[in-house]
C-alpha cells in the first residue's frame, strides 16, 4: 500500500493499534516471545513453537501469539510476556519448553500467575505511565504483588529510552508495528513541512554529536555536505563500528572503499567525505545510533532533546554492558550518567570478586580503574582520562583478571585487524603483541615495559587512521593505571 499523506499513516496506525489491543471477544490473551539474537540463541524459537503447538491443541480461539525483538536484558533470555485482558502483563525469564507448558496451563488457561518463573510485572514501554500511577496501569488488575514491578528494577528505571524506545514493543519485521508507534511521522514532517536548511538547523540546535567515537556535531557534518553542488549525494549509515567484522571498516573512508567493492583500506581524510565521499560524491556518514536520534528530534523538537544529557553533550548513549556483572545486556542512559551508576546499580557486579576496572569503547578505548567510577559518561571527561565512549562497549573486569592480559587481548585484536596500509599500525601493533607476550610469559624486563610505552606512543602519533591512532589506548591506559601489574610480572 502506498501512503501518500499523514492521514494515510494515521489510518495504518489506528488500524494496527486496534488489531494489537486486547478485547473481550477474539483477543483476550496474548503471548509475546522476545526474539532478539540472545533470545534465539538461548532457545526462543523452540519456546515459540511450543506455545504455537499448545494454542493449536487447546483449540482456544482467543489467544494471540506475537514476537518482538530484544528487550535489552540478554542474560535473562528467553523472555516471554503473558497478557490477559484487564490484568497486568507478566514477563517470565529463562523460559524453556517445560516452563512454557507450565505457564500455558497455569497462567494462560487457569489465570494463575507462576511467580517462581516471573521476572517482573508490567511492560517496559509503560514504565513512565506506571511511575505516574504509583506502579500500576489504570484498569489492570494486579495479580501478584510479590513480583517486582518493572519500574522498581534499577536496570530499567535508570535508563532513558530514545534510540531504543520501541524495544520489546515492536516486531522489527513488521513495518505497521513501527507506524503504530509514530513511525515515519518525522520523515513526513521533514519532507513536507521543513526544508534542508531548517532540518539542518534543528539538528544543530539539538546539540546531537556523533555516537561512533569522536563526537563531531552531526548538524555541522550535514551542513558541510549540503554546501557542495552535486547532482548526486549519498548518506551512509555506519552500522559497522564495533568489535566484530572487518573492524577497520568502521573507519569512514575504509567503509566507503568496502561499499565500492574494494578492499577496506582507509585513506587520508582530506578531502573529507562531505566533499568527496562514496563514488566521489558528497557523502554524509553517520553512525547508526546517531541516525536513530534524528526522528525523535524532528518530531519533538530540539528543545526537548537539549533537556537530556550534559552541557556539552545532549541526549542519551547506548552501552553494551558485559564482563563480571549479573545483568549483561544493552542499555541506554542519559549522557553524563556516572560509571558507578551503570556498574553498581544497572549492571550489578557478580558476587565473589570486586570490580577493579572498566574497559570502555572497545579495542580503541581504555581501561579505567575503580577510583574513577564517579566520572560521567561523556565525551570530554572520558577523553581526559585516556578512554572514550566510542561505540559503547563497557566491560567490567574483576580483581581476578590481569589488566596486562586484557591489554594484550585488545592489541592482538588490533594487530590482526590492521589493514596493513601504514607501517606504524601494521608493524607497531605486532611488536606490541610480541612484547606483551614476553611480559605475560614472565620473561619480560623493566626495559620491555619502557619499550612498550615508547612504541605505543609512536603508533598513536603516526598512524594513518583513527583505528591505528587508538590501537595503543588499551596499553597506555593500563600502563597509566595498572603499571604495578606490569611491574609485578617482569624480572
Amino acid at each position: 500500500m502506498v501512503v501518500k499523506d499523514l492521514e494515510g499513516l494515521k489510518k495504518i496506525k489506528n488500524q494496527t493499534l486496534e488489531i494489537q489491543s486486547l478485547d473481550d471477544t477474539k483477543n483476550r490473551k496474548r503471548i509475546t516471545v522476545h526474539m532478539g539474537t540472545c533470545g534465539i540463541a538461548s532457545g526462543a524459537q523452540d519456546v515459540l513453537n511450543t506455545f504455537k503447538k499448545l494454542v493449536r491443541e487447546s483449540k482456544e480461539k482467543d489467544i494471540k501469539i506475537e514476537t518482538t525483538g530484544c528487550m535489552g536484558i540478554c542474560s535473562k533470555e528467553p523472555l516471554v510476556t503473558v497478557e490477559i485482558i484487564n490484568q497486568e502483563p507478566i514477563i517470565y525469564e529463562y523460559v524453556n519448553n517445560e516452563k512454557a507448558m507450565e505457564i500455558f496451563n497455569t497462567h494462560i488457561q487457569e489465570g494463575k500467575v507462576l511467580s517462581k518463573y516471573a521476572f517482573v510485572r508490567g511492560k517496559e514501554s509503560e514504565i513512565e505511565e506506571r511511575v505516574q500511577n504509583n506502579g500500576a496501569i489504570k484498569g489492570q488488575e494486579v495479580l501478584d504483588d510479590s513480583i517486582k514491578g518493572i519500574e522498581e528494577i534499577p536496570f530499567f528505571n535508570l535508563q532513558k529510552r530514545i534510540v531504543m524506545r520501541n524495544r520489546g514493543a515492536i516486531d522489527p519485521f513488521k513495518i505497521n508495528d513501527y507506524i503504530a508507534r509514530d513511525g515515519y511521522e518525522a520523515a513526513y514532517k521533514a519532507l513536507k513541512e521543513m526544508d534542508s536548511k531548517k532540518i539542518i538547523q534543528t539538528i544543530l540546535d539539538s546539540g546531537l554529536r556523533g555516537r561512533g567515537g569522536a563526537g563531531f556535531p552531526t548538524g555541522l557534518k550535514w551542513k558541510f555536505a549540503s554546501q557542495p553542488q552535486s547532482e548526486e549525494k549519498y548518506i551512509i549509515c555506519n552500522a559497522d563500528e564495533g568489535d566484530p567484522g572487518a573492524f577497520v571498516c568502521g573507519e569512514e573512508t575504509a567503509l566507503i572503499h568496502s561499499i565500492q567493492g574494494q578492499r577496506g583500506n582507509p585513506r587520508l581524510k582530506i578531502p573529507y567525505p562531505a566533499e568527496k565521499g562514496l563514488f566521489n560524491k558528497p557523502t554524509v556518514i553517520d553512525n547508526v545510533e546517531t541516525l536513530a536520534n534524528i526522528a525523535p528530534i524532528i518530531l519533538k523538537g530540539s528543545d526537548w532533546f537539549t533537556k537530556i544529557g550534559t552541557d556539552k553533550s545532549k541526549g542519551t548513549k547506548v552501552f553494551s554492558i558485559t564482563g563480571d556483572i549479573v545483568n549483561v545486556g544493552c542499555i541506554e542512559v542519559p549522557i553524563g550518567t556516572s560509571i558507578q551508576t551503570v556498574i553498581e546499580d544497572i549492571a550489578s557486579p557478580m558476587e565473589g570478586a570486586k570490580i577493579k576496572a572498566v574497559q570502555l569503547g572497545g579495542p580503541s578505548g581504555g581501561c579505567l580503574p575503580v577510583q574513577y567510577f564517579d566520572t560521567p559518561l561523556d565525551y570530554e571527561p572520558l577523553k581526559d582520562l585516556g578512554t572514550i565512549m566510542g561505540s559503547g562497549g563497557m566491560i567490567a573486569i574483576n580483581e581476578k583478571k590481569s589488566a596486562v592480559d586484557i591489554a594484550r587481548f585488545f592489541v592482538r585484536f588490533c594487530a590482526s585487524e590492521s589493514c596493513g596500509k601504514c607501517l606504524p599500525c601494521r608493524e607497531g601493533t605486532r611488536q606490541m603483541v610480541n612484547i606483551l607476550d614476553k611480559i605475560c610469559s614472565g620473561n619480560g624486563t623493566t626495559e620491555d615495559i619502557n619499550k612498550l610505552e615508547d612504541l605505543a606512543l609512536v603508533v598513536k602519533k603516526t598512524s594513518l587512521c583513527g583505528l591505528g591512532k587508538t590501537a595503543s589506548n588499551p596499553v597506555l591506559s593500563t600502563l597509566q593505571y595498572f603499571r604495578n601489574e606490569y611491574e609485578a610480572i617482569v624480572q
Binding site: T37, C38, A41, S42, I73, C74, S75, K76, E77, G242, D243, P244, G245, A246, F247, G261, Q262, R263, G264, S320, T322, G323, D324, V328, G329, Q359, G362, P363, G393, I395, I397, K401, I406, F409, F410, F413, C419
Partner: protein
C-alpha cells in the same frame, strides 16, 4: 561475484581468482587483496564440521580463552586449521551478538552458550 563463489565452492582458491582476473580484466592482486582482507572469504576448503570459538571481548573475559585452549589440546589443532581426518575446521569468531550467553561456541551454526570447560568434550562428540 566472490561472495557467490565462496557460497558455491565453500572457498576461493588462487586458481579461481586467476580465472576471475582473466575474465573480468581486474588486476589479480586486487582480487587477492579483497579475498585475503575479509574474513568471510577462505582460500582453503573446510572440513565436515565447522567449530567457531568466539573470542570477542565479552566471551574472552568470561572464559572463552580457556575453552579455546581446551579445544586445541583435545583436537591437537590450532586456530585456522583442519583436523587431519577432515572432521573439524577450527576458527576464531569475533562476536555473534549473543554476549549475554558468553562464553559462546558455535558448531555448524548451532550456538552453545555459557559453555563450561567440562562441556567441551560432550559437545564435540555430537559431530562425527
Amino acid at each position: 561475484m566472490l561472495e557467490e563463489i565462496q557460497q558455491l565452492l565453500g572457498f576461493v582458491p588462487v586458481e579461481v581468482q586467476e580465472r576471475i582476473a582473466q575474465k573480468t580484466g581486474i588486476n589479480e592482486n586486487d582480487i587477492y587483496g579483497v579475498v585475503s582482507f575479509y574474513s568471510y572469504f577462505t582460500m582453503q576448503p573446510r572440513a565436515r564440521h565447522r567449530i567457531q570459538i568466539c573470542l570477542g571481548t565479552a566471551c574472552y573475559v568470561k572464559g572463552g580463552k580457556e575453552i579455546a585452549e581446551k579445544i586445541e589440546s583435545t583436537l591437537q589443532i590450532k586456530l585456522g586449521e583442519n583436523t587431519p581426518d577432515g572432521r573439524f575446521t577450527y576458527e576464531e569468531a569475533r562476536c555473534f551478538g549473543t554476549c549475554g550467553l558468553a562464553p559462546v561456541l558455535v558448531v555448524d551454526g548451532t550456538v552453545y552458550g555459557k559453555v563450561k570447560l567440562e562441556d567441551v568434550d560432550e559437545i564435540l562428540s555430537r559431530y562425527e
